[in-house]
Amino acid sequence: MKKEKVRRLISASAMLFPLLLTVAILTSLVLKALPIISLKSLPTLIFSSAWQPQKGHFGLWPFILGTLWVTITAFILAAPVAIFTSIYLAEYAPGKLKKILAPGLDLLAGLPSVIYGLWGILLIVPFISKYLAPLFSSYGSGYSILAAGIVLAVMILPTIINISVEVLNSVPTELKEAALALGATKFEVIYYVAMKKARPGLIAACALGLSRAFGETIAVMMVVGNVPEVPHTLFSPAYPLPALLANNYGEMLSIPGYDSILNFAALLLLLIVLIFSLMSRLYLNRLKRRS
């Protein structure tokens, strides 16, 4: 009986570990970020575009904008293609084709970001600088928001597709048949019935893709140019928050405040993820209660 108690205690604390870890990460980042927050005001840190650490200017706005631009570009490029593809795979594709494609998608969902970044450097960046940007009379290295957006979009495609296909497959065949039996075309069945039934799942899949794009570091920093300026067009380089951390964290001890501002940047990333998770949890709970 005593053994059972010990086991219970150990496994209970293991269960609580994720909870404690979340709190630990949050507190340690808050503590490390406090010095710079108390030194400058929060709005200055967030909304100022002056980034000159040597002179004590720590405005994160260019980095925040960079993150937003890149994430949103990736999402806009990826979501429609991913949803259409999953519709094709779930509703139209012959069984054999699905069997061939599934392992490919799995592999690509598991490919490390450095591989995607490499592909971006080899293919996307030159493509943008040589062919795409000149069309819009913009000339540059190709290392740009668009490059990062495309690479990220491709990266999150398999994630969104895999989940969406699963969600669409879970719509009962009988329900689709019921709609077909009323004389609906395939499009009408998919659009008015299957996608409506699967909507929470499809939204969850997209949210997952969005959050993956948001936090991606290596692939983005390889192709985005890393210039700390407010971006103007899709062909401008940018410098998203994760890239800022990756390039500078750990080597920042000599400049006063630098260490704290980088921790603040990490805290920002964490808070955005936290808010995002909370919102999607609330949304899902509301759906659950309604049905």
Partner: protein, 294 residues
């Protein structure tokens, strides 16, 4: 009755056109995805071929390696394997009892399990660069330098939510009848968990571990400041360790084309390892669906 009928005739072409356009859009998206995905694999493969020699995987970097001289990336291959096996072990040791507790001791919708699952969701979404930052802070607090140990701990934290959620899902799928049958035979909760549930969920757990391994293998951002980098093989927990993603990253930044080509070759090696893992996962998940009680 006839009005609807007339309208039906009138509307039919438009409905048919929309239907075909939709199908076309779905089909072309799928083609686009396939083309892109093939393009990635082909690009990596073709560009890596010139540098893909046996010496890449059986030698460590020699002197002047980063100037284009002899050597390989054995240090990074071995380092990555050391790092992810340690990290996955740590993550597994924490995740397994936690998941068992969630599924056997707690009631289905207790606020506790809700909170834990939510925190797993949050952890799952935290970018790995933030784990890197947190790992670095831990290192400072424990007076460690960038080392295999620090890298392992950090990657373990990255893997924990992935592992826990995947295991939670498979264990939750074990039918409650099986649990109840075991309880009714007088088995304690722990015995039930170990003997019955784990056996039932075994392929799923293996899959979860493999997924975590794959994620750990590919993650670069979390080890950027915690694992360091070395050209030698790592033989102690307190030495820095090289990893494949960082090997690719560093070689790519070299101005020498020979070294860049080795980056492509390293990428091909990494892709191959990921492919291997994903094939094993397929194998196990096929097993999983075969044993599933419907």
């Amino acid at each position: 009755m006839d009005t609807a009928w007339e309208k039906a005739k009138f509307k039919r072409p438009k409905r048919k056109i929309i239907d075909s356009l939709f199908r076309l859009a779905a089909f072309s998206s799928a083609v686009l995805v396939v083309v892109i995905l093939t393009l990635i694999l082909m690009t990596i493969l073709i560009r890596s071929l010139p540098a893909l020699k046996l010496s890449m995987i059986i030698r460590t970097p020699g002197t002047g390696y980063y100037l284009g001289h002899e050597g390989g990336i054995l240090n990074a291959i071995v380092g990555s394997l050391e790092l992810i096996s340690g990290a996955t072990l740590i993550a597994f040791i924490i995740a397994l009892p936690g998941v068992i507790y969630l599924n056997t001791y707690l009631k289905k919708n207790s606020p506790f399990s809700e909170a834990v699952r939510f925190s797993l969701d949050v952890l799952w979404g935290i970018p790995s660069i933030v784990y890197g930052v947190f790992g670095f802070l831990l290192m400072l607090a424990w007076h460690l330098r960038a080392s295999l140990l620090a890298g392992m701990v950090t990657v373990a934290l990255v893997e924990l939510p992935i592992l826990s959620r995947a295991m939670d899902e498979t264990i939750r799928m074990v039918p409650s009848e099986i649990k109840e049958a075991a309880y009714s035979l007088g088995a304690s909760r722990w015995q039930t968990a170990i003997r019955v549930i784990l056996r039932q969920a075994f392929p799923g757990i293996i899959t979860a571990v493999l997924i975590a391994l794959g994620r750990g293998l590919g993650d670069a951002a979390s080890v950027l400041f915690t694992a360091g980098y070395t050209d030698r093989l790592t033989t102690s927990l307190f030495q820095p360790v090289a990893t494949l993603p960082l090997a690719i990253f560093f070689q790519l930044n070299s101005p020498y084309p020979e070294v860049q080509q080795r980056a492509y070759a390293s990428a091909a090696i990494l892709t191959f390892l990921i492919l291997l893992i994903s094939l094993v996962i397929r194998f196990f998940s096929r097993k999983l669906s075969r044993h599933k009680i419907k």
